[in-house]
């Protein structure tokens, strides 16, 4: 559980295709730099993010999981992000019961035009996970 400054966290990001994935691309075209610790996965909507996928990510070696969606009201599918908004707090309480720090899962809203904000979110989350240290590996989750 060392919070050593040498520790490079592994972070999984679930990015929704319409807002946050596009925002991440914008950060790229704008050449904004952020830590390379996050590996992005594209989903059509943050509502697709099943909590069991988040658990698998943590079980398989992720030290932190970022879920990024559209701002409430702007979801391309109207309410997908509202469902995510309800699921994540429930997921966090389950994590606590597993003995996993709920701060290792973060839900943020990033719009398609917020390249700078995307980079900031990734940077801040990376540093927070770095401070928390590596995640204890759980051998099997269904």
């Amino acid at each position: 559980m060392s919070a050593s400054a040498d520790f490079e966290p592994t972070i999984i990001g679930f990015l929704c295709r319409w807002c946050s994935y596009t925002g991440a691309d914008l950060a790229g075209t704008s050449r904004v730099k952020y830590p390379p610790n996050m590996i992005p996965l594209k989903v059509m909507c943050s509502g697709r993010v099943d909590p069991s996928l988040v658990l698998k990510a943590l079980a398989d070696g992720a030290d932190g999981v970022l879920i990024l969606g559209c701002h409430p009201g702007d979801c391309h599918y109207h309410e997908g992000n509202h469902k995510t908004m309800r699921r994540v707090p429930m997921l966090k309480s389950v994590l606590q019961q597993y003995g996993i720090d709920p701060a290792r899962v973060r839900l943020e809203w990033v719009s398609a035009s917020e390249g700078d904000r995307f980079a900031e979110v990734v940077h801040d989350f990376t540093e927070e996970i770095r401070a928390l240290g590596p995640q204890k590996r759980v051998e099997s989750v269904a």
């Binding site: 592994t10 999984i12 295709r17 319409w18 807002c19 994935y21 596009t22 991440a24 691309d25 950060a27 790229g28 075209t29 050449r31 904004v32 730099k33 952020y34 390379p36 590996i39 992005p40 996965l41 594209k42 989903v43 059509m44 909507c45 509502g47 697709r48 993010v49 099943d50 909590p51 069991s52 996928l53 698998k56 990510a57 398989d60 070696g61 992720a62 009201g73 702007d74 391309h76 599918y77 109207h78 309410e79 997908g80 469902k83 699921r87 719009s111 398609a112 035009s113 917020e114 980079a119």
Partner: protein
């Protein structure tokens, strides 16, 4: 999901997965940061990879051919391209695969540019990240299945929201091509902002002269249906088949019967300016009937004249009341307010037998003013201003009116706030005189449902609210006006006939024009509003031409980038306009010297002189920032498109797709996308029209088949998913006790998939198995980790 039927070569008929991995250099965009050769070597060692190569530009023809040859030669049945974002080139490579006989959905893109090489400076770490991303893609693609695109027919009817110059241009192009257009405009007439301008830069063309022919063409075109005084209430459906509800506001005039004769507004007794108020009582030695609700009061005053020397009517100088009583008659019989009563007292001395009595029933309609033969009754506002800069109109200033005399459609509307009938039940004159019987006070709002295949948003801009910027005095001092207000002041159809006048009705002797009010300003809007430098020069020219007084331009930079714009600037410099390089900090009416008495003083730092300057002037014109329309965000949500940071509608790509949006079938043009001048708005309108005609010409649109599919053997009939779907694509089959998905309605968000406790619903292209494989590849958990 039958994977045994192949499209051609390499379909997984023998069960063996053979992946081709292609890593793009993208010139130096990727290769300068990511060690491409190392990624290729790494990919070669991954499970199922049959071939791994790199190339300079995968999206080029040779790049695509490389993939196609390998599909045949190496019997590939899966392809991964590690390059730019899938949002950029996924369609390109899918097409390449399809042309080589491989189902296009057996392809996965790995984004190692926008989300890797461009955002990392540390080369070894960028290369490691690229490897993880490639391994994730290779792991995922093995579980891809053949999918078929859904093709939907495209309805050829087009909806255009906004009847300004961009919308009109697009409507004409599309209609000339023979396709039907429905043009929805919120105001009672099309024409937009351009209809309020007097001249346009840099040619100084009369705006109406170049706009009205287009407006008339649009109004008369057999393929264009104009719905004015209407708004889009809701939109559902998808590209090719949108269902739109249009709400038509209460005009009170039937546009099918009205022939535009104009008798109604000629006869209307209610003289108004745009902001009428309700009645209140105020006692004055001269009768003051005023109406005010918070804010400014409007007075109707009567000057009673010298009663001792009352003269016969023909010699009465204009402006004296002759006690004819016409005002009283109008007030009682037409208006029904009975605010003025003519009293006759036979016992009084000669010359004083008639008197007028006033009570507090005045509703400020102005009917008495219209009837008065001598002009004794006038309408002014509470400060006795004659020219109300903030409330000028371009058409007849009556309660029933057309916005301008060139309105298209040429059908009036009734302004309920100022109409006597709606205020106190009286009058009703217009309905009586209308020869077509087109006026009905009972008209209701109407909802019209239409089906269209594509939508163009061309709703234009608003200007920033100047009232909170107290340092400039708009709304506090007389004669401080905004750019749009100055356009109307100069307009030939305005109440001054195009004369530039101060609020007291006299011409100014000096005018200051202040650039960048709210633009290029971190407190308001960071962006440059693009058109203000040019219209400020145009204003300077108009002032010099019409009034010949001193003109001062307070600027930061002069932005004159368009065709003929720099030459126009040079011309203005020769017209004796004084340019002061320094954004104005303040406009004040506190004089600090005798020559500042009674003037507005503009204070600015003259950065070229290095001094603070105070310029006393008679009139100040502010160039306000252009911003997104109020309600733009709501419209964006209705249409499923986004807004950028500044509130303007978000284009798909600022350079390569400026008129498309993230939503297929929805396009954007004109100033609602970003501040721009008329030539650019017209160009974007035409560009959007070309896009739309191309869509209609194809006749079909391919929708990604990322729909939800239910495995009924796993579904337990719990119905948890049913209410999750925002499109009502899921329903319960009562008999079999399972959920059923109507794939034509499914838009592929995947929310139901995440909801299902049994895992019975999967999303094609985003199945749990595929995402889990992607995670394992990203995190290196599988046997793949032995490749590290």
């Amino acid at each position: 999901m039958d994977t045994s039927k192949g499209n051609g070569h390499g379909a997984s008929s023998d069960g063996e997965i053979r992946v081709g991995v292609y890593v793009c250099h993208c010139g130096t965009n990727i290769a300068a940061t990511v060690d491409v050769a190392e990624v290729v070597r790494f990919a070669e060692g991954l499970p199922n990879v049959a071939v791994a190569k790199d190339y300079q530009f995968m999206c080029s023809e040779p790049g695509q051919e490389l993939i196609q040859q390998d599909i045949t030669e190496h019997k590939l049945n899966r392809v991964v391209v590690a390059a730019c974002s899938p949002l950029m080139h996924e369609p390109t490579f899918r097409r390449a695969c399809a042309e080589a006989g491989l189902n296009p959905f057996l392809f996965q893109m790995a984004n190692i540019r926008e989300q890797c090489s461009w955002v990392t400076t540390d080369k070894p770490r960028a290369t490691e990240k690229a490897k993880h991303i490639v391994r994730a893609a290779v792991s995922r693609v093995a579980l891809h299945a053949e999918l078929q695109v859904r093709e939907v027919p495209v309805n050829e009817r087009v909806l255009i929201i906004g009847g300004g110059i961009a919308g009109i241009e697009a409507a004409l192009q599309i209609a000339d091509a023979g396709k039907p257009v429905i043009l929805v405009e919120r105001e009672p007439s099309i024409g937009g902002r351009m209809a309020t301008f007097d001249k346009t830069f840099p040619t100084l063309d009369c705006a109406a002269c170049i706009l009205t022919p287009k407006m008339v063409s649009a109004g008369q075109h057999r393929n264009i249906d104009i719905r004015s005084y209407a708004e889009v209430a809701s939109v559902s459906g998808h590209v090719g088949q949108f269902q739109v509800s249009i709400r038509r506001n209460r005009r009170y005039v039937d546009d099918k019967k009205c022939n535009g004769c104009g008798l109604c507004y000629q006869e209307c007794p209610a003289i108004v300016s745009p902001k009428s108020r309700k009645v209140s009582i105020e006692g004055q030695p001269y009768f003051v009937g005023s109406y005010a609700e918070g804010g400014e009061a409007r007075k109707v005053t009567i000057r009673q004249g010298d009663r001792e020397r009352r003269k016969p009517i023909k010699d009465t100088p204009t402006g004296d009341c002759i006690f004819c009583g016409k005002c009283a008659t109008a007030c009682s019989e037409v208006v029904g307010a009975h605010a003025i009563v003519l009293r006759r007292d036979e016992s009084a001395e000669a010359g004083k037998q008639r008197s007028l009595e006033f009570n507090g029933n005045c509703i400020g309609c102005g009917a008495c003013v219209r009837e008065c033969p001598t002009g004794a009754l006038t309408v002014t506002d509470a400060q006795d201003r004659q020219v109300l800069h903030h409330e000028m109109m371009l058409g007849p200033n009556k309660a029933i009116r057309v916005p301008t005399l060139q309105a298209v459609p040429n059908v009036p509307f009734i302004d309920e706030e100022t109409c006597i009938h709606f205020r106190n039940g009286g009058c009703g004159h217009c309905a009586e005189v209308c020869p077509q019987e087109a006026i009905s006070y009972d008209m209701e709002e109407a909802i019209e449902e239409v089906e269209v295949g594509s939508i163009l948003v061309a709703t234009g801009f608003d200007t920033i609210d100047l009232a909170p910027m107290v340092q400039y005095g708009w709304g506090r001092y007389d004669n401080v006006i905004s750019g749009l207000e100055f356009e109307i002041l100069c307009h030939a159809s305005g109440s001054t006939g195009g004369k530039i006048l101060k609020a007291d009705g006299t011409p100014p002797k000096s005018v200051a024009i202040l650039h960048c009010i709210g633009s290029r300003d971190e407190h308001y809007h960071e962006h440059c509003s693009r058109v203000c430098c040019m219209y400020s020069l145009k204003f300077a020219h108009l002032v010099r031409e019409k009034v010949e007084c001193d003109v001062y331009e307070f600027y930061i930079d002069i932005r004159a980038g368009g065709k003929g714009y720099e030459e126009f600037y040079k011309r203005l410099m020769r017209e004796d306009v004084t340019f002061i390089r320094g954004k104005a900090a303040e406009v004040t009416n506190w004089p600090m010297s005798p020559e500042e008495e009674g003037k507005l003083v503009v204070k600015a730092e003259d950065t070229l002189l290095g001094q603070i300057r105070r310029a006393p002037v008679d009139m100040v014109i502010l160039s306000p920032a252009l911003q997104a329309r109020e309600g733009a965000q709501t419209l964006a949500q209705t249409l499923g498109i986004g807004c950028g940071g500044e509130g303007f509608f978000l284009e798909r790509h600022p350079k390569l797709a400026p008129v498309q949006t993230a939503a297929d079938g929805v396009y954007v043009a004109g100033a609602c996308q970003s501040p721009k001048d008329i030539p650019d708005s017209v160009a974007q309108g035409a560009a959007a029209a070309a896009n739309i005609l191309s869509l209609i010409d194809k006749g079909m649109f391919s929708i990604e088949p990322v729909v939800a599919v239910i495995d009924e053997t796993l579904c337990g009939g719990c119905r948890t998913c049913i209410n999750m779907c925002p499109y009502s694509a899921l329903s319960a089959d009562e008999e079999r006790n399972v959920a059923v998905c109507e794939s034509a309605l499914c838009k592929g968000c995947g929310t139901c998939v995440a909801t299902c406790p049994a895992g019975a619903i999967q999303q094609q292209g985003y199945t749990d198995a595929q995402i889990r494989a992607e995670l394992e590849g990203a995190l290196g958990r599988l046997a793949a980790s032995s490749a590290e």
